[in-house]
Structures are given as structure tokens and as C-alpha cells.
Amino acid sequence: MSMFIVPITPLTVSTEIQPKNNTLESASGFQTIFDDLITQARETQEVANQDSMNLALGQTDDLHTIMINAEKAAIALELTVQVTSKAINAYNEIMRMQF
């Protein structure tokens, strides 16, 4: 009996080339980054929430996936918070400049 266990996180050979957002307008480029960050934070949080539910229902088996997903959610959130705070600081710096 030979079977394929398809893991939830398959290995990918990086032959996929992501097209870069070649925007000259830094403002909208930053917007894209922000959107990505927030989406990422939300998605990782949803996965972590689903994991908690599975854990409570006793339907899960491997703990490492749950722990890793929880950490990913936390890190994604930290990243969003840090980037936001630095963006705000940069903005304040600019506003403080006397012209």
C-alpha cells in the first residue's frame, strides 16, 4: 500500500517569478505593502483561530503545526504593528520640518 500524504504545506521549487510592483509613486507602493501586511496578518490569525477550534473539538493531532501557525500569526501582527509605527514616526518627522 503506497499512498501520497499531501502535506498542508508542500515544498515549492521557486520557479515561480513574482512580478514586482514597479510603481514610481511611492505613496501607492506603500499602500500595496500595507494591504499585503494586513491581509497576511488577518489570514494567519484566521488559521490560528481555526486551529484553536480544532484543538477544542479534539479533532487535531499534530501540535507542531498549531504552534507554528500561532507563532506565524503573532509575528505577522508584530510586523504590521512595527511597520505602522515606523510609518507614523516618519510622517511626524516630516510634519515637524520647518519650511
Binding site: 499512498m3 500524504i5 484543538l55 479534539g58 479533532q59 487535531t60 493531532d61 499534530d62 501540535l63 507542531h64 504552534m67 507554528i68 500561532a70 507563532e71 503573532a74
Partner: protein, 146 residues
């Protein structure tokens, strides 16, 4: 109740082995019992172990229909009585002796039971070690990110 299927597998083995050991000690305790509730000498009891299938097919389906979950492990499917004949022993002074002075003794062989007991103990210890390993692995997983 553990949510880890792996712990359930080891737990089932420990339970089954414990039942086996209990049966063996009962046999040994009754090695000279000539009167039972059903009348007649004590009959040797044996446990029948059965494998519970471990299947990884379609994890999604398994979480929906819990009754068909194939989680592996082992169970005692039944406890049977041995059909081996009773052992006639010449002992005319025994209250249960027949007209020829023979008493029918239980079909329990002490050395056979002790060999069984050693095998059961070995299995129990192996599963206990497995339990500790799985427990430690779980603890390690919980430490991810700390």
C-alpha cells in the same frame, strides 16, 4: 481523554496488556479451584487481542464521520475459556474426588502462565517507553516559539 491519536494508540495497548495480566493472575490464583459458580473445576481463561486498523486515508473525511475513524491500536476482542481438558489428579482424600479417588483439577499450567506473564510484562514496558517518548515529543512541540 487525550486528543493526540498517538497517545490513544499506546493507551489502548496498555489497557489491553493490563487486562491480559489480570487474566493471567486470575488463572494462577485459581490453579487449584475445583468448585466454581458454574460447578466443576476452574477453566483457564485467555484474552484474544485484535488489531485496530490504522488508516491515513482522507483525513478530511475522518474528521466528519468520527465513527469510521481508524486510529490504530489494539483491543481485547473477547475473553475465551480454554478447551483443554481438565487434569485428573489422584487424591482420594479430596472432598471432590470421584469414586476412583481422582479429582479433576483446572487446566491451568503454572509455567505456561508465567511465560505468558513475562511476554505481557515486556509488551507493557515497551508501550510505557513509547508513551514517554510521545509525551516528550509533545512537550517539545509546545516549546516552539518560546
Amino acid at each position: 481523554m487525550s486528543f493526540l491519536d498517538t497517545l490513544k494508540i499506546t493507551g489502548s495497548a496498555l489497557t489491553a496488556t493490563r487486562l491480559r495480566v489480570d487474566t493471567i493472575t486470575q488463572n494462577l490464583a485459581n490453579i487449584s479451584t475445583t468448585r466454581t459458580e458454574e460447578g466443576g473445576p476452574y477453566r483457564r481463561k485467555l484474552v484474544v487481542l485484535r488489531e485496530q486498523e490504522l488508516s491515513f486515508e482522507n483525513v478530511l473525511n475522518q474528521s466528519i464521520s468520527k465513527s469510521k475513524k481508524k486510529n490504530g491500536g489494539v483491543i481485547v476482542s473477547e475473553i475465551v475459556e480454554s478447551d483443554n481438558p481438565f487434569i485428573p489428579v489422584y487424591n482420594p482424600n479430596h472432598p471432590d474426588a470421584d469414586e476412583n479417588g481422582y479429582v479433576l483439577m483446572p487446566n491451568v499450567n503454572s509455567s505456561e502462565e508465567q511465560v505468558d506473564l513475562m511476554a505481557a510484562t515486556r509488551a507493557y514496558e515497551a508501550n510505557l517507553t513509547a508513551l514517554n517518548v510521545v509525551k516528550t515529543m509533545t512537550m517539545k512541540a509546545l516549546e516552539i516559539g518560546k
